[in-house]
Symmetry: C2
Subunit: 183 residues, 2 copies
DNA sequence: TCAGGATCTGACCGATCGGTCAGGCATGCT
DNA sequence: AGCATGCCTGACCGATCGGTCAGATCCTGA
């Protein structure tokens, strides 16, 4: 019955990604994941220290890209920051559609877990950049609406090809963002 | 220890609204609500048949307004449908900020419950109207991003006055919606 | 051949969940 | 006084959760 190490490990990871995307992190039990893989719950906990570690490994690639985007944002201001934030986040959201779906609505609670403590600050900076670092309520509100809406759209439109989704979202963001330095 | 009938009933409802808005429906136990009210869990279940009934009574006013909006949408097409949908939903979302926050991310699972079965269809029609009944992917994507984003923004910006939030959201929607009948 | 590590499992644990139930207690009607 | 009714509670229920643990099984290198 024993399989190669990485095989079962990867199967659990893939099954978790599928289940989390459909029923959310809290809504998915370790038993659910084990059932989908075809192993026991104890096996899942042999390969992963706990449920949170499973989620962390699942989100690691997306978080890495988010970190990169955060670095690209440093120093940029005004319209330049908006453009980099828009292009970067749309690209990230489309590429990591499934990972985004996992966080659906559970963002606030999941951010409390130590493994994701820094994500909150990064997403705050991202929102700030998309608002062109403006403190006008209109700009801040628009930035939040767009970031949250894009996440939801990427999770929902699973059937649309990457290119098409990315183009549509980018066009939307560009006309929706409140322009800075109004004449 | 006994209080007037409606008093405890209302207190439970108010406490549930507060807790649900912070920790979500699933993330809030009947014990949590009882603790906030200062009564026993059994008392909560004396006033409400079950947890779902408590949620249903909490959401009833918002659902009523959503139904009204749905009726106003029938027969309208193109830009007129977009405008009615935009104005109606922004107004609804701002007025029922707390109720919107309750649904945060738990929308899909909550819609499965029989008490909310019809909400899915209404929100589909609302999204369709905001897209100007266009079948272009760009229009449909923009409509979803806006509806989801507005919900999230209303749940998040609890400190901004109604008028200001409504104005900012409406301005955003008007410049973000993909125009129909392009020349 | 055999020791030892990697893999996997069933049984089990304490905690918490939504929900039930018999009964206590105050109030008001007859 | 006696009874019914509405309100409230502690104790309890079965189910499920994440997580632990001792041991069975398999593979590999000496």
């Amino acid at each position: 019955m024993a399989r190669a190490v990485s095989e079962t490990h990867g199967e659990i990871l893939a099954a978790a990604a599928r289940r989390f995307a459909v029923t959310g992190y809290r809504g998915t039990s370790l038993q659910d994941i084990a059932r989908e893989v075809g192993c026991s719950k104890a096996t899942v906990l042999y390969h992963f220290a706990n449920k949170e570690a499973l989620l962390a490994e699942l989100m690691a690639p997306a978080i890495g890209v988010l970190r990169d985007l955060d670095e690209q944002l440093t120093g940029r201001t005004g319209a330049a920051a908006q453009e980099v934030a828009a292009q970067g986040f749309v690209d990230l959201a489309v590429r990591f559609r499934r990972e985004i779906a996992v966080l659906r609505g559970e963002f606030p609670e999941l951010l409390c877990q130590p493994a994701f403590a820094h994500i909150q600050q990064i997403s705050d900076r991202l929102r700030d950049a998309l608002a062109g670092h403006s403190d006008r309520p209109g700009a801040r509100i628009a930035a939040l609406v767009l970031l949250a809406g894009i996440s939801e759209a990427c999770a929902e439109f699973a059937d649309i090809p990457d290119d098409e989704l990315r183009a549509a979202l980018l066009a939307l963001v560009r006309r929706a963002v409140e322009p800075v330095d109004a004449p």
